[in-house]
Every structure is written in structure tokens, then in C-alpha cells.
Symmetry: C2
Subunit: 533 residues, 2 copies
């Protein structure tokens, strides 16, 4: 119902927008799940500004609901293979396998999963690019820009085939490899931690050693393991030899879903724009959203001075094992706050009277509620940013992927306590909750991040849309793309120059030594002759 | 008269601003000449926004006119020594010595000048920091932020003594050393040219070799030559050992007076903000500025379809030798355009009827005049940005310092032709002028840069003021300052990590070889015993 209403609003706004400014055509290659929730906000804003937005999707997505009425257009391609099984494998991997592993093992395992499903991804890509009717239609539409989530390859290949400039939207690639290798994002290993390793910008000597080794490992291993597969496919599709980095690296702008309230300060290229938290908005009063939420508001209000705790493991993990649920519930039962837990599983036997389970919660509105004291989160980027936006301290229970890193960032900035999902006990959770609620430094730090977030020259969403529109207006943004893209790796790292200078020094030393020895010989000879005379 | 009027406007605006938002106190350590013209624009905007601005100056500045009524406050310190002679030495150096030298010789000579006058600069600094009455007054005023032009040292030292967070405003330091060493600006030598060398981001192999060598040379030479002098002085003033980089590196924000319409894209730190062209504004119709300019407008209008050429060597060089003036004038006489030449010297005998000499010209308004076809400039940053703003192609006659680099940038972007000030003939100037006027690509490229300049999410001046105000509001901007500042140079470049890893590899090879040799020996012994048996 809500979606219908917003579709109507967009259509009305579009009517008002017709004729005002430049209205372009945007083609979108999205990624499903939480990525889609973020990208959708940009697309809705583009619609509001009068642009025509077409989303490419296959017939069985998770959250991309192309059947609902919407101001977005969809080009749906039938997938020959059902992807439900893969989704289940992924959830099992994330909940049961990854949390038990060390950082780098977890990253490797996650990449293994992508390698495992790359056959399906390739098939998906083929069903788009070899669909002549679709490609002809897209070609004839003359899109002004493509917005691409590069986590699932193919978008950049389509942009190349359609000759449309493109903008990437990304939180992070596995090990940050894509940004570093293809985006030429500099990463001095002494203070820029390899993403997904849980390291921070302030490392001990041994951590710096670890960071350097992991960087090399990820770079060569992922390049060899996965990139070569796609390079072969891309080269065949384009009819000329290419690399994954060559096509991805043609991006005009990289919209990164973080900002300096979250990131450790590090150097970046001018075509990187940090637009973290673009989906955040002020909280709405609960009953105003929905009459059924009146009950939720009553529960929140009943917490009195103690306030509430919001608990969600995101859209992907709405369930945990019975044992884990009981551990969690018994901890929650011991705090004076009321708890709103987004949970679809069987009601735990240890559930306290202060805890209520909900299939769905209006997370942003709850985090922005004046009674909210803490947020228990798996560390997904969308949730983290809602907590930053509203200045709520966190208890982080990272499960996989970038979540470990996200929580490490919040921990380093003093706004979160981390607990291990696999090994956590009731005491761990209880201790962590009590710490973030009673130790005022967590709230202060969360508020500091919130102030940083709110005090930007331009809001993240406006910046994201500005640069997409810039690419439309100017047919690219080449003035922001560094010349590093046109260098080979040995030129980029000045290996040839260093080699040449070393050779010069060696030659000079050699010549000097030769001359010296020659002079010595000559001098000795002269002395011998003199002696003889 | 105009200054009086603007002072009144500022005072009125300040009256309106009282009570609106946060009004803070800003202390300014400026640099004189063209630098001041740029910084003044920021200060005027700060005044408009209701802040109290106090400028520190000595009693004999060139362009900082503290005697005229103004909304700015001034703290004037009497200089024991007259600086007129130094100014004359500088103009002679720039006009007669530097243009004949090669790029790097010119940079070294310029630095030599700074080294030569550092005694005076030190004395100037002492007359501020050891003036107890002044320092007490400044301390008691509790400034919220200092705005510092670091080309003349001392400002950062004062900020440290007064414990006030500070923002730097800078085009470039000699060889870019300060930004790189103290600001931790990364500079991959394969595509980031050493500033002031005239190199671009697209270098041949030999140019990359030159770039790497110059980088090392500038770094060590300037560090040893000049920085150590100031380190000694700073350490004494602070009463503890420090380095120039340590104090300068404490800057919260670096406001760089360029943008990507001018710069070659290169990586930068989050606390660098590129605000080039912040002084630019739309052109005003000439007669509206001043009745005396009616004559100038008549002259411009008399050019008809051919249009006009604007010629200025900036505020520092309003005169050239008679010989040079004749060379220039005879070239100008041969073009169909009317020429407005800002020149204070003796009227050249070869001056054509199409050329008029002016003591002063409203440069921005002339460059924005629809009849303007080209701009002959020495390549000062302010003039270059006015040309970019209005999309005017240039003939560059760089004289010293960053001017060579500025023109090299415009040349690489196809908006300027460069000629050598020392060796130029009438034919050179004529050919260059005809090229930029008749070859439409120059106008197109200048217009492209202009479009890039005008299409930013926030105007440069607003961004500059935003970040100064941000530092006031938050008492700093530490979330943008990378952890590189807390590393030693060998940690920063991971020398210790590389050394450790190499030592590990060497030990492993050593142990492996030992084991292998030991096994071989054992195996040989066994075989010998077996043979004997």
C-alpha cells in the first residue's frame, strides 16, 4: 500500500518536473538485498528530479519488486535457473560457517562463494547481453548514464557495449581490491587497513606487517582466482582482449557508501565521492506511519526513563537457531530497558516481559526515537548509518563480509562494543549492552559522529545525484579521472624508473671502480719503472 | 573611495548578521601581494556572515592597506627594518634573473631568495610572538580559528602558542614540499608532477625519470636548507623540540587555491579542499563601475567584430624594460583586435593605434566582457582563474614561481599557448596571439574548463567559508586528518615492515639452505659408509 502511494507521489512530482532543467535517461544495474535498499533511494530522488529511470533485473530477485506499481521502469529478463538454493547456501554460510573463522579465512570463504556462483552470474549476464531484442531496445533509448553496483559483474560490460558513461555505487569490494586495482585508490599500508580485516588506521608494528601481507595476498589471490575468469568472458563479449579492471576503471564517478564520520581518513582520487548515509532521514512519529504501530509506540512509551533498545540483524538474517535465540533473550530479559527485536523465528523460552518480537520494525524511526538508548546490530551499512544519523551507540554482532569492518570502525571511534556472534554468551551480550548504555562516552561519541554527519556542505543524497546528473550534462567527468588509469602497473609504481636509476648508479659505480683500478695499475707500473730506473 | 563604500556595506551586513547563527572570532596571518587579494575575499565573506576578523600585519605591507576604513580589524606591529629593498630585489630577481633559468634552477633560485630573507622573516615573527602586550591581548580574545597563509612562516607557530585550531590557505609551496611532507599529500611520481617543474600528468619515460629525481632533490634539499632553520627557531619559541612539519601538519584544513578545472587529477587527503577561483564573480558592465571607465567601454566597443585582447602581468610587474615593451607593442600593433594593456612604464615607440595603456584595469570585468577574445597573462593564479571563470583562452608569459606551472596546466588542457618571457620576439607573441584567437579549439577548451568550474555542488568561496566555520563550530576537524601524521617517515613508507619481511625471507632462505646442505652432507656420508661396507 505504501509503495503504491509513493509511486503516485513520484508520478506527480515527475509531472511537475517536466520541462524544468535537464531531464535525462538513467539505466541501472543494481545488486539485490540491502544494496538495493540503498540504491533505490538514489533512484527515487532521480525520479523526483524528472529523470527517467530503468532498472535491469532478472525474474526472481529478493527485494527488487518489479511487480509493484512504481515510477521506476523495469527491464526483466527470465532466468533459466532458480536462485533460491544459492540464497539458502549463502544464508547458511553467513550464519553458520563464516562467524567461526578468522578474518582473512572469512574473506577467502566469501570470495569462494562468489567463485562458486560465478557460473550462474555469467549465465545471468549472458541472458542480458546476448538478448538482441533487449540490447537493441536499450541502444535505441540512448541512455545518458548508467548507475552500476559492481558487486555483481556485468553492469560495466553493458555500459561498454551500449557506449554509455557510467557511475558506480559501492560500499566495498572483497578486500577492497576493485577500488585499489581498478579505481586507483591509493592505500598506504602503514595507515590504511585492508578492508574486511577488522584493522584500524592506528596499527601496531605486527598489525602493519599483517596488513601488508594480507594486502599482497588479497591482491594476487583474488586477481588470479576470480578476475581472470571474468576477463575471459568480457573479452569474448567485447570481441577484443580486455581486463575486468579496464572496464570497471572506466567509471566516471565512484559513489562510495561511507563518509568521514565512519571511514578512517585516507587519501582518495577526485572521482571518488563519499555519500554514506544518503538513505537516512529524520524519524517520523510512529503512530503517524501506521495505525498498527500505535501499539509499538505504547510499548516504547511504557519504558519510561529507562528507554528502549532496538535489535535487528538486518533483512537477511531474520532468524537464528533456538539455542542462540535463548542466549540472546535471557540477556535482554535482564536489562531495565524495553527491547524491540526484529525476529521471525520461534519465540524463545527465555524471553523476558521487557522484550517484544516483531516481524518488521520501522528501524529508522525507532533509532530516531527520543527513548532509544542502544542498537544491537549485525553491522550492516544501512543500519550503522541510521545509528550514526541519530547518534545511537551500538552493540555490534558482525556476521560476515563488511560487517566485521563496519563494527571495527565504530568500535575504534568509541561508539560501539563488539561481541562474537559464534561464541557469545548471555553474559557477553548483557555486559556489552550495559556498557554502551551506562558509560556515557559511547553516547557522546555517537553524538559526535552524528554532528559530523549532519554538518556537511551538501547532503550525501544531493551529492550522489549531483554527480550522476553531472555525468549526464557533460557526458562524463574525465577531468576527475587520474592519468594512473593509462599506466601499466610497473609504470604506475615507477618500477621502470627505479630500475633505470639503479642501473645508472650501478654503471657509475662500475665505471668509477674500473677507472680507479686502472689508475692504480698505471700508478703501480710507473712506480715500478721508476724503481727500476 | 570604493573601499570606503564596501567597508560601509560590510558594517551594515554585520549589523544584520548579529544574532543569526554562530558568530565567531577569526585571527588571520596573511601573506602580502596577490595572496592577500585572494584571502581578502574569504575575510569579506566571513564578515558578511557575522564573524569578527582580525588581521595581523607589520607596519609596511604592500597591498594590505590597514589604514583605510574597513570592517576588518588590524593588529599592526612595527617592523624595525624597511622591507622596500627586499621588494625591489624580488622584482629584479623575478623579471631579470629567473626567466633565463631552467625550471629547477628557477625553483632553487626562488628558494635561495626565501633563505636570504629568512633573517627578516624571523625578525618579523619575533616582533609578534615576543610582543607580550599583543600576545596577551590575542590570548584573552579567545579566537575560534586562525586562517594562515603558510608561505611566510610564523602563523602556525602563533596558532600553537595561542592554542587556536587553524586552517591553511595556499596555492603551492616551493616544489610542493609543504603539502607533501607536512600535509601528507600523496604524490605517486608516475602521474603527479613535482609542482613548479612545468611537467604534466602525462609524462614520457624520461620525464618520469626527471620528475622522480627532482622530487628527491627538492625534498632533501629544501628540508635541509630551509626547514631546519625554522625548526630551531620554532623549538626555541615553543620551549620544546619540534619541526616545521609538526606545527604546519597540525592544520585542520588545507584550503588549496585550485580546483579540478585547473589541476591534473591526483589523490588527496580528506582535509584538503580545492577552492580555486573563489574570488571570481560575474563581470559588471564597465560604465556602471566608474564614470571614468566609460572611455574604456567606448574603446572596447570600437573594436567591432574583432573584439579585444586583455593584457596584464599582474600587480607585481607593472613595468618591463623599454626593449621588451617595444617587442610587445610591435606585435600587438599587428592584430586586428583592440588591446587593453595594464602598463605603468614609458610609452613604447612601437605602440599601435589599436593598443591603449592603463595604470589599472578592471580585469575581471574585462575578461567577462562579451568582446574579449584572449588574455595575455604572466600566469598568476588569480588571473588564470578569472580567465577560466569567463572561458577566455590565454597567451601565457610565465615569469617565476608557480606561474610556469600554471601556464603548463592551461597548455596541457588546450586553453593556452606559452611563450618565453626572456627570449620572446614580436613574431612569437604575434603567432601565439593569432593561434589562440583563430584556432577555435582554444576557445572551446577554455569554455569546457569554465563549464567545469561553474558546475560544482557548492561554490568555492562557500566551501572555503564552510570549512573555516566548521572548525569554529567543532573546535577542529580531526576526523579528516589522517593517521599518517602520527607516523615516523620510515613507518609511513613501511620501511620497517619491508625490512622485517625481507629479514624473514632471508632467514627462511638461510635456514632452508643450511638444512639442505646438512641433509646433502648426511646423505653423502651415508653413501660413503654404504660404499665402504
Amino acid at each position: 500500500m505504501r509503495s503504491d502511494k509513493s509511486a503516485l507521489v513520484f508520478l506527480l512530482l515527475q509531472l511537475f518536473c517536466v520541462g524544468c532543467g535537464f531531464c535525462g535517461k538513467v539505466l541501472v544495474w543494481p545488486c539485490d538485498m540491502s544494496h538495493w535498499l540503498n540504491v533505490k533511494v538514489i533512484l527515487e530522488e532521480l525520479i523526483v528530479r524528472g529523470h527517467e529511470v530503468t532498472v535491469l533485473t532478472h525474474s526472481k530477485p529478493s527485494l527488487i519488486d518489479y511487480r509493484k506499481p512504481s515510477a521506476l521502469k523495469f527491464e526483466v529478463v527470465h532466468m533459466p535457473q532458480d536462485r533460491t538454493e544459492e540464497n539458502e547456501i549463502f544464508v547458511d554460510l553467513a550464519l553458520n560457517v563464516l562467524p567461526g573463522l578468522s578474518t582473512w579465512q572469512s574473506v577467502i570463504k566469501l570470495n569462494d562463494f562468489f567463485v562458486e556462483i560465478r557460473g550462474t552470474l555469467k549465465m545471468m549476464c549472458e541472458s542480458f547481453i546476448y538478448n538482441q531484442t533487449l540490447m537493441k531496445k536499450l541502444q535505441e533509448t540512448n541512455y545518458d548514464v548508467m548507475l552500476i553496483d559492481p558487486v555483481i559483474p556485468c553492469g560495466d560490460l553493458m555500459a561498454e557495449l551500449l557506449a554509455v558513461p557510467f557511475v558506480l555505487t559501492l560500499r566495498i569490494s572483497v578486500g577492497g581490491n576493485m577500488e585499489r586495482s581498478c579505481g586507483k585508490l591509493p592505500a598506504p599500508l602503514s595507515y590504511v587497513p585492508v578492508p574486511m580485516t577488522g584493522l584500524t588506521d592506528r596499527m601496531t608494528f605486527l598489525e602493519r606487517v599483517k596488513n601488508s601481507m594480507l594486502s599482497v595476498l588479497f591482491h594476487f589471490w583474488i586477481q588470479d582466482y576470480d578476475y581472470h575468469f571474468w576477463e575471459e568472458f568480457y573479452s569474448k563479449a567485447l570481441g577484443r582482449p580486455t581486463t575486468l579492471c579496464e572496464t570497471v576503471g572506466k567509471a566516471e564517478i565512484w559513489l562510495i557508501r561511507t563518509y568521514w564520520d565512519f571511514e578512517f581518513p585516507q587519501p582518495y582520487q577526485p572521482n571518488f565521492e563519499f555519500v554514506g548515509g544518503l538513505h537516512c532521514k529524520p524519524a517520523k512519529a510512529l503512530p503517524k506511519i501506521n495505525f498498527y504501530l500505535q501499539e509499538m509506540e505504547n510499548f516504547v512509551q511504557s519504558s519510561g526513563e529507562d528507554g528502549i533498545v532496538v535489535f535487528s540483524l538486518g533483512s537477511l538474517f531474520q532468524n537464528v537457531t533456538e539455542e542462540k535465540a535463548n542466549i540472546i533473550a535471557s540477556a535482554l530479559a535482564q536489562i531495565p530497558q524495553k527491547v524491540l527485536w526484529r525476529y521471525k523465528g520461534k519465540k524463545p523460552s527465555t524471553l523476558g516481559a521487557n522484550t517484544r518480537l516483531y516481524d518488521w520494525i520501522p528501524q529508522n524511526d525507532l533509532l530516531g526515537h527520543p527513548k532509544t538508548k542502544a542498537f544491537i546490530t549485525h553491522g550492516g551499512m544501512n543500519g550503522i548509518y541510521e545509528a550514526i544519523y541519530h547518534g545511537v551507540p551500538m552493540v555490534g554482532v558482525p556476521i560476515f563480509g563488511d560487517q566485521l569492518d563496519n563494527i571495527a570502525h565504530m568500535k575504534a571511534k568509541g561508539a560501539a562494543v563488539e561481541i562474537n556472534f559464534k561464541t557469545m554468551t548471555s553474559e557477553d551480550l548483557l555486559r556489552a549492552l550495559r556498557t554502551v548504555i551506562t558509560d556515557s562516552s559511547y553516547k557522546e561519541n555517537a553524538m559526535r559522529l552524528s554532528r559530523i554527519h549532519h554538518d556537511q556542505p551538501v547532503k550525501p543524497l544531493d551529492r550522489a545525484v549531483f554527480w550522476i546528473e553531472f555525468v549526464m550534462r557533460h557526458k562524463g567527468a574525465k577531468h576527475l579521472r587520474s592519468a594512473a588509469h593509462d599506466l601499466t602497473w610497473f609504470q604506475h609504481y615507477s618500477i621502470d624508473v627505479i630500475g633505470f636509476l639503479l642501473a645508472c648508479v650501478a654503471t657509475a659505480i662500475f665505471l668509477f671502480t674500473k677507472c680507479f683500478l686502472f689508475s692504480c695499475q698505471k700508478f703501480n707500473k710507473t712506480r715500478k719503472i721508476e724503481k727500476r730506473e
